[in-house]
């Protein structure tokens, strides 16, 4: 089948023509030089090909938004978009705040506040979850920490949030109580720029 019937010999290794010489040969030099060039080039070029998939400058630029909450009353919620994600702003009723405050930390599945305004290991008390200085407001990223669905408000066993995808139940402070989600819903960096305006991000 093969047209090529010339006898060929393949050298055992890339060794020098004189196998008894210990001096590096021209070929040794080329093997090392081209091999090193290939490794460096592939490693160096791999990064741009990988990094191009990361969020680009325009995605990163949508860093913060201002939300006017002057029209909100107790018991109302609004959902705003921040970085392509829903953020829940809930004006909680006194009963909801009370229920969240009266929950002992030992009842929580995730005892950490998950609040970007605080220490990464702050406990998940209600005051560590509520908006700074305004305990009636709860501002959090409305994404279930299980697999990213948007939970439904005023639902579930604790009248907080209930995720329809896989059944995670959150309380009135957005803390995971049972279900597959591992963490409390995230509180983004939040500040009141004035009494009626919340800055997220």
């Amino acid at each position: 089948m093969s047209a090529n019937t010339y006898p060929t010999t393949v050298p055992d290794s890339a060794a020098a023509p004189d196998p008894h010489s210990s001096e590096p040969s021209r070929r040794d030099f080329f093997v090392i030089a081209t091999g090193a060039a290939a490794v460096v080039a592939v490693a160096g070029l791999a990064w741009p090909f990988i990094d191009q998939m990361n969020p680009d400058a325009s995605a990163l630029a949508l860093a913060s938004i201002d939300v006017d909450i002057s029209a909100m009353e107790a018991g109302q919620s609004i959902t705003v978009m921040w970085r392509g994600k829903p953020v829940f702003i809930r004006y909680r009723t006194p009963e909801e705040v009370e229920a969240a405050k009266n929950t002992p930390l030992s009842d929580l599945k995730d005892p950490i506040a998950r609040n970007d305004n605080l220490d990464s290991n702050a406990p998940a008390t209600d005051e560590n979850r509520a908006a700074p200085g305004r305990e009636e407001f709860l501002v959090m990223v409305g994404i279930c920490t299980h697999l990213g669905c948007v939970p439904m408000g005023e639902a579930g066993d604790y009248n907080g949030w209930f995720c329809p995808c896989h059944g995670s139940v959150y309380d009135t402070a957005g803390r995971i109580r049972h279900g597959p989600a591992p963490e409390n819903m995230l509180i983004p960096t939040t500040a009141f720029s004035d009494d009626n305006t919340i800055t997220i991000g």
């Binding site: 089948m1 047209a3 990988i50 998939m53 990361n54 969020p55 680009d56 995605a59 959902t79 978009m81 970085r83 392509g84 994600k85 829903p86 994404i143 920490t145 299980h146 697999l147 990213g148 669905c149 948007v150 939970p151 995720c163 329809p164 995808c165 896989h166 059944g167 597959p180 989600a181 591992p182």
Partner: protein
């Protein structure tokens, strides 16, 4: 089944080509003269059916890409435009959408066939591993394709599946942002999924070539599990396999056409005809039917990382089957215990699929957990154990003997077969 080529170039042109680029010789030796066991049944036709469906998917996909726009602002409308305005757009899109379901129906039968007749055993381990790689590539392709119409199920399916990676400790969140190209599923995600959805089928074609090459080296398995030993055990690929595959492909095409023309949306989900809305999750998210058993396994474990690990493990375990199975007997036809456990496993997987479509409430959760446990028990405990405790039935000495005794007596396990089986006497 290697050996000397039987190709004889007859004309001057054939000789001219053969001495330069012997592609006709390769085709002749692979698909005409290639010897196949004489006792292959119709379950062996699904390789050919899969090749047909792959061609259908690539042809319809390339054509659909001429009309589809991978931009989150217009993707949904461009699909509706294909359905309403493009000439025969409805037909091409329904072929492509139902084609993916047909692809999985065929591949699951093909895989169960392999499990039943021990196709993964030595010397066909690489063949089997290439098959599992093909299965993974198919799943990735199907998943990304389902995202492209940018309906509610597209969007939330993409969100849930990409969030699986956020279960990885430390780097999980970075990986999800990298996959999304943002902080949530959005236009960059749609763009890259379209690019990869177009690429992966051609990678599938490449691995299919390796998969076919591998069985042309080892030869096909057959229902007896006894390797061909003489000329009388085999028949040439053409016309025997060619015709049998052709009949099976036509029958499968009828089945396909039934869905295509009478139930085009039966296997889909109505929520996907609603434009993607990042603020509202549909109340009941389910993946396409072919992912349901794995989705059930994901939900069975009451821990995020645990569920993700179990789901991936349920596929990774398939890579190790050639070494988990300790039985020397290849075909389930001669393995009385394995045959029972095989069918229990089939029922187990179907039940997992059924519960995968149910909401995770009440007794469904426990049932799913038990079925998930059995899935792993089957491969990790029953598989190795059977090799030691099972007493296989006597195997025929050759394919020819098995075929002839079957035709003489009208069934296996008869006195005629026993008389011809030296193992039983000794």
């Amino acid at each position: 089944m290697q050996g000397t080529s039987e190709y004889q170039p007859r004309t001057g042109i054939e000789r001219w080509i053969d001495s330069r680029m012997p592609l006709p010789r390769l085709m002749y030796d692979s698909f005409i003269a290639y010897p196949i066991p004489r006792n292959l049944n119709y379950s062996y036709a699904f390789g050919a059916i899969l090749s047909l469906v792959l061609v259908v998917q690539i042809l319809t996909g390339v054509v659909l890409a001429m009309h589809y726009a991978a931009n989150s602002a217009i993707a949904f409308n461009s699909v509706e435009q294909i359905m309403r305005d493009v000439n025969y757009g409805w037909l091409l899109r329904y072929m492509h959408a139902n084609g993916s379901s047909m692809f999985f129906i065929a591949v699951y039968i093909h895989m169960f066939r392999g499990l039943y007749y021990g196709s993964y055993k030595a010397p066909r381990e690489i063949q089997w591993i290439l098959g599992v790689i093909l299965f993974l590539l198919m799943m990735a392709t199907a998943f990304m394709g389902y995202v492209l119409p940018w309906g509610q199920m597209s969007f939330w399916g993409a969100t849930v599946i990409t969030n699986l990676f956020s279960a990885i400790p430390l780097v999980g969140e970075g990986i999800t942002h990298w996959l999304w190209g943002g902080f949530a599923v959005g236009n960059p995600t749609l763009n890259r999924f379209f690019s990869l959805h177009y690429l992966l089928p051609f990678m599938i074609v490449g691995v299919v070539i390796l998969h076919v090459w591998a069985f042309h080296v080892t030869g096909q398995t057959n229902p007896t599990g006894v390797e061909p030993k003489s000329r009388s055990d085999v028949v040439p690929f053409t016309p025997h396999a060619t015709m049998k595959d052709a009949v099976a492909m036509v029958a499968f095409a009828l089945f396909f056409a039934w869905f295509l023309f009478y139930l085009p949306n039966y296997l889909g989900h109505p929520d996907n005809y609603t434009l993607a809305n990042p603020l509202v999750t549909p109340p009941h998210i389910v993946p396409e039917w072919y992912f349901l058993p794995f989705y059930a396994i994901l939900r069975a474990i009451p821990s995020k990382l645990g569920g993700v690990i179990a789901m991936f493990a349920s596929i990774i375990v398939l890579f190790f089957l050639p070494w988990l199975d300790r039985s020397k007997v290849q075909s389930a036809a001669y393995r009385p215990l394995y045959r029972i456990f095989f069918w229990i496993f089939v029922v187990n997987v179907i039940c997992l699929g059924y519960f995968g479509a149910k909401p995770p409430e009440g007794w469904y959760v426990l049932a799913t957990q038990l079925l998930t446990a059995y899935y792993f028990v089957h491969f990790l405990i029953i598989f190795p154990l059977l090799g030691y405790i099972e007493k296989p039935r006597p195997r025929p000495t050759s394919i020819t003997e098995a075929v002839l005794s079957k035709h003489k007596s009208g069934g296996g396990g008869t006195p005629a077969e026993a008389a011809a089986s030296p193992e039983r006497r000794g």
